[in-house]
């Protein structure tokens, strides 16, 4: 037993090392000094308190998204549409703020309503992917992908159309909100403690949902064997639908945070790819909620640290994307190798 755990840990280390080797080779191939690159990524993320708060700013939407994705993953669903759900959350939030910010409604109420609207927007958008799968037989990967394009197109249309800035419509986004409805940030930093609190709350809720409730157990049963779950009395399609909507609500919350705490307006790339990055993290942690927070933090740090590369080393910042991608690929591959290895060991015994 102890031996097994040691072997498992060894395999995970192997995956990280392999990912580092590949990234290093790529860095060397483009003529950069790999060591300098890694040092700059580190300095750019954990080098100072201010940098670290930037990492946390990126961590918030990522962690909330991962929390949602863990629900759909548990139910055996590949919710690729999470990106669009973030966007629709952001749009719904923006809509409520634009509607109410110039009325006499108290700012605290506007903020609350806007965030709720974001969650509802995300959940409804996710329910489309769910309905396509449940009633239309459309695989959620294809449905989600299609809906992502629609969501992106909707932001562009809003920014250049109905919600365009007076005078100059620009990809930079809509008019900024009144400062009264911004989520307060800490000191000079861009970090909102409210948003941070909501992110941590999200992952804690999902942890308890999946570990300790009947809902979580039934979601897992549906994910692992829908036929048996149905025979055991679980209303399967309703649970799939619920998983979609829960994930959509979390994704919408992530979108709402991007709007309310970071950009204070709707911008063209409001989701910043956190949906896809969240999918990588969720795959990497392999249903283990406990690991979601640290792994998401690591990925957020890579994202923020990578910003340094073009500035200092004249490297493209996409190198962190390569590191993230290879890491996931190697972890999945090594996991496959590990299972074969364990099976062989098991057969020998």
């Amino acid at each position: 037993m102890k031996n097994t755990r040691f072997v498992n840990f060894g395999f995970q280390i192997l995956a990280v090392v392999l990912a580092l080797i590949v990234t290093t080779l790529i860095l060397a191939a483009v003529g950069a000094n790999p060591w300098d690159a890694y040092k700059n990524i580190y300095a750019g993320s954990f080098g100072s308190f201010e940098k670290f708060t930037d990492v946390l700013v990126a961590w918030i939407p990522l962690l909330i998204t991962v929390a949602g994705l863990l629900v759909t993953f548990s139910a055996g669903l590949w919710n690729i549409g999470v990106e669009g759900q973030i966007i629709m959350g952001a749009i719904a939030t923006t809509w409520i703020v634009r509607l109410l910010q110039d009325t006499t409604t108290p700012p605290a109420l506007i903020i609350t309503l806007a965030i709720l609207a974001g969650m509802i927007g995300g959940a409804l958008w996710a329910s489309l992917a769910g309905a396509l799968k449940t009633f239309g037989g459309v695989n959620e990967i294809f449905g989600g992908l299609g809906l992502n394009f629609v969501a992106t197109a909707s932001t562009i249309w809003l920014i250049f159309g109905p919600w365009k800035r007076p005078g100059v419509a620009s990809i930079a986004g809509t008019e900024s909100f009144n400062e009264s409805v911004w989520l307060p940030t800490m000191g000079d930093t861009r970090l909102s403690l409210w948003a941070l609190g909501l992110a941590i709350l999200s992952i804690v809720i999902v942890y308890f949902l999946l570990q300790g409730t009947y809902i979580g157990l039934r979601l897992k049963a549906v994910g692992k064997n829908p036929k048996a779950a149905y025979l055991l009395g679980v209303p399967t399609w309703q649970y799939s639908m619920m998983a979609f909507m829960l994930c959509g609500a979390f994704a919408g919350l992530a979108g709402a945070m991007q709007v309310m705490a970071v950009y204070h307006r709707l911008i063209g790339s409001i989701s910043s790819g956190y949906g896809f990055l969240g999918l990588l993290v969720a795959m990497l942690v392999n249903y283990q909620v406990i690991w979601a927070a640290p792994v998401a933090l690591f990925f957020a740090a890579l994202n923020i640290g990578g910003i340094q590369l073009p500035i200092i080393l004249k490297l493209d910042s996409s190198i962190t994307g390569i590191l993230q991608g290879t890491l996931v690929l190697f972890v999945l591959m090594v996991e496959g190798v590990r299972q074969k290895f364990m099976k062989r060991v098991g057969e020998k015994q």
């Binding site: 300790g212 409730t213 009947y214 809902i215 157990l217 039934r218 897992k220 049963a221 692992k224 064997n225 036929k227 048996a228 779950a229 149905y230 025979l231 055991l232 009395g233 679980v234 209303p235």
Partner: protein
Amino acid sequence: MKVELRGIHKYFGKNHANDDINLTIPSGTIQGILGENGAGKSTLMKILSGYFHADEGEILLDGKPVRIASPAAALQAGVGMLHQDPLDFPPMRVIDNFLLRASGDFFPNRKHAAQDINLLMKEFGFSIDPETYVDSLTVGERQQLEIMRLLFLGARVFILDEPTTGISAAQKAKLFETLKKFPEQAITVIFVSHKLEDVEKLCDRVAVLRQGKLIGEMGREQGKPFDDKGLVKMMFGKEAPLAPRQTHSQERSVLRLENASMEDARLKIRDVNFEARAGEVIGLAGMEGSGQGTFLRACAGLIRTVGGKVQINEKDLTGKSYHVFKNQGVEFLPAARLEEGLVPGLSLTEHFQLAEKSEGLFINQERGVKLAQERIASFNIKGTPVSAVESLSGGNQQRALLSLLRTPLSLVLIEHPTRGLDIESVIYIWGKLKERCRQGSAILFMSSDLDEVLQYSDRILVFFNGKVSQPLDAEKTSVAKLGEMIGGRGWDNPTA
């Protein structure tokens, strides 16, 4: 082409699927292979057609030993197999199905192929448009297509696996007419079936398999029929001595079908009237796919009936879903334990928590473990509360499935309650099921083991090609009688 099988052995794990089979089939004969499900017929045919490799033994074609490594190699050697489910590509056109597996040039010659198809069709009197899509054809037409394709590819030995299931009487007549022309061209036909009637009509010789062994062969003298009784005896072996039976049948009706009609992709079952009473055990006998599976699922609400009424506990539940049936105390236990019954990756405790009524939002882990320990002890499951279900042996998985049944229940529907289990588990499981009967549950089960059906049922329904017999009193019938009926004979006087 002459086919010789010499000393064929095939093991699946511990299961000896083919045990020293020696069979010689002269060129240009129509050879029947009879046997009940699991007798090893399909395994033997798959070895001959290259899908499986024999663990021991050799195959000779026209006296020459051949090594058949794959279905493609078999076809090259002249052996073609027509599978129970036609191996074609439904979304493609007929002509593309032909071209797909014809070896040849990079660019297929459609014109040439169309001519060949038309020529073959003329020869056999088929009429299928080469440009039509395969999924618009009937099962019978797809068979014709497959036969033509195999001829087109040069098959000299034709293996047909249960070819008469799911085709119309007219198509069957056409098929037999076609097959009877083959011997003239020295093409050998191997006809695998459990239907005595079909074998009698078509075959020159019959070989019977039982439990992996070749039990016997029988030839036909010119113009004379086969010895029916002898064949049935070979197929099913002994007449089992019956153990003393207990019956717990009560008056209360738990299941009533009124003119119920149901159907699946192959079969239509029409106008069944049937009533099961509390405490009763009803066995459903029949060859796999004769309609008993559809019947069982329709009684559970898993398949919607297409006509008539289904009543549970005198309540009309026609058209309702399985979960509504479940609320009335109906449970369905599938044969595919890990595929349909249990959730691989979840522990025994988690299964009990899923099956029980939930109390509140949060799971009481302590209570769950306690419940699991109780059930594990009372059902004698070799496992712990945290054991993942897939780590249990087949017998223990079946016990786990049974232990998930709630109490009280009106009706338990079971597919193959003891398939693949050791004798100790079989006795244990039936003990548990009889206990349910004492508590007032009715049990409907299907099984391909006729001894099991006779031994444990109060009444028996026999299924043949979608037909359902009147309920037979288990005490007044025998394995031989059931064997005949599931082979399609003796239906004129089914209550005798």
